[in-house]
């Protein structure tokens, strides 16, 4: 029983520290930023919104931290490690096609045959990839003899949190995935 009290005690201390740091950070936020965040939320005057944000969420947060504090500690450490890794590399996570995203190996002529764009109003050149034909030509110029071309489909999240579906073709040289050419680049709703 003492261990259980100790466990919950650590959770309570952790919550107090996190809450105090959060209050301190909020006080340092510029007023313009606070106003901006307020303006972005149209429901802020509703009683239901105030109940949820000022009563339910804090109570749920306290209970969650006291019960599941090791989970928070784990994610905090993971976050710190990743930040350090990105800081070392000097870049944020970038889009990359990986082997698990590859769909089908195709030749240039097979791709060009399937990607001819037609329009009844003739508002697009009847060539592979239509208005993006020049971009396609630039892409295949960089594909060496013996390189493979594969179609791909990737769902990923940008560093800004936007979920996207990207599809297209990539070149592969000696098993290493190289440049990509996109045919679909769309935002996905959050629930997918």
């Amino acid at each position: 029983m003492n261990y259980l009290y100790g466990y919950f005690g650590i959770g309570a201390v952790l919550f107090t520290v996190v809450y105090s740091l959060n209050r301190l950070k909020k006080r340092n936020d510029p007023e313009s930023l606070v106003d901006l965040l307020e303006a972005a939320n149209p429901d802020r005057h509703k009683l239901s919104h105030r109940l949820v944000n000022q009563v339910l969420v804090p109570v749920a947060a306290i209970i969650y931290v006291i019960i599941a504090w090791p989970v928070l500690v784990f994610f905090k450490i993971k976050d710190l490690v990743e930040r350090r890794r990105y800081a070392k590399a000097g870049v944020a996570p970038e889009f990359a096609v990986k082997h698990q995203h590859l769909l089908e190996r195709l030749s240039v002529s097979e791709i060009e045959q399937r990607e001819i764009v037609l329009d009844p109003l003739e508002a697009v050149p009847a060539v592979p990839f239509g208005h993006l034909h020049a971009a396609w030509l630039r892409f295949i110029t960089g594909v060496g003899e013996g390189d493979e071309l594969w179609s791909f489909s990737v769902q990923w999240q940008t560093p800004w949190g936007r979920k996207e579906l990207r599809e297209g073709y990539v070149s592969i040289q000696n098993g290493t995935i190289g440049a990509s050419f996109f045919t679909v680049w769309k935002g996905l709703p959050d629930e997918t």
Binding site: D119, P120, A123, G130, H131, F181, F182, V184, W185, K186
Partner: protein
């Protein structure tokens, strides 16, 4: 970031404000990007496109903007050989058309909220579904109807004629 001037869309015989920039994707996918000049804080992208949907297909039918060298841009600047109509086959995603009274004005991007949003879901330039999202009711009947920008800062032009001057 100031609220942004919307694109224009002709749909079912009416002109609408379109709070989506399908040309962004064209540029991201390697399409010809001639570097537009931002002329005011409400138009960071530097151009306004006019779009049309005919038989469920999305077309770009006009473009107004200024390039960094000071020349006026048109549809032919981006799509040589297609000065009047361009099929937007590169675009997949939602087109957002705000409708009804303004619920809240947000002076940032396309952030303002309206009573309804009509979404046209597009796959490779073809409208596949439409849906309406109800966002609630405007506080008063006098609420502005339709998308608008409250204020902006106009930048002085720095076209080719000004370059080289102190």
């Amino acid at each position: 970031m100031t609220a942004q001037i919307a694109e224009r869309l002709r749909y079912l015989g009416e002109e609408h404000a379109l709070c989506t920039n399908p040309l962004n994707d064209y540029f991201s996918m390697g399409g010809n990007d001639p570097a537009f000049e931002s002329t005011c804080s409400a138009l960071w992208r530097g151009y306004v496109g006019t779009w049309e949907i005919i038989a469920d297909r999305l077309y770009l039918i006009g473009l107004q903007g200024t390039l960094k060298d000071g020349t006026e841009a048109s549809l032919a600047t981006l799509f040589p050989g297609f000065p009047t109509r361009v099929f937007a086959h590169w675009y997949s995603g939602s087109l957002r058309i705000p409708q009804g009274g303004q619920i809240e004005y947000v002076h940032m991007g396309y952030g303002s909220r309206y009573e309804r949003d009509l979404f046209l879901e597009v796959e490779r330039g073809v409208v596949v579904t439409t849906r309406v999202r109800n966002n609630g009711q405007a506080a008063s009947k006098e609420a502005p109807q339709g998308y608008g920008v409250g204020a902006m800062l106009v930048f002085p032009r720095t076209g080719q004629h000004d370059r080289g001057k102190p």
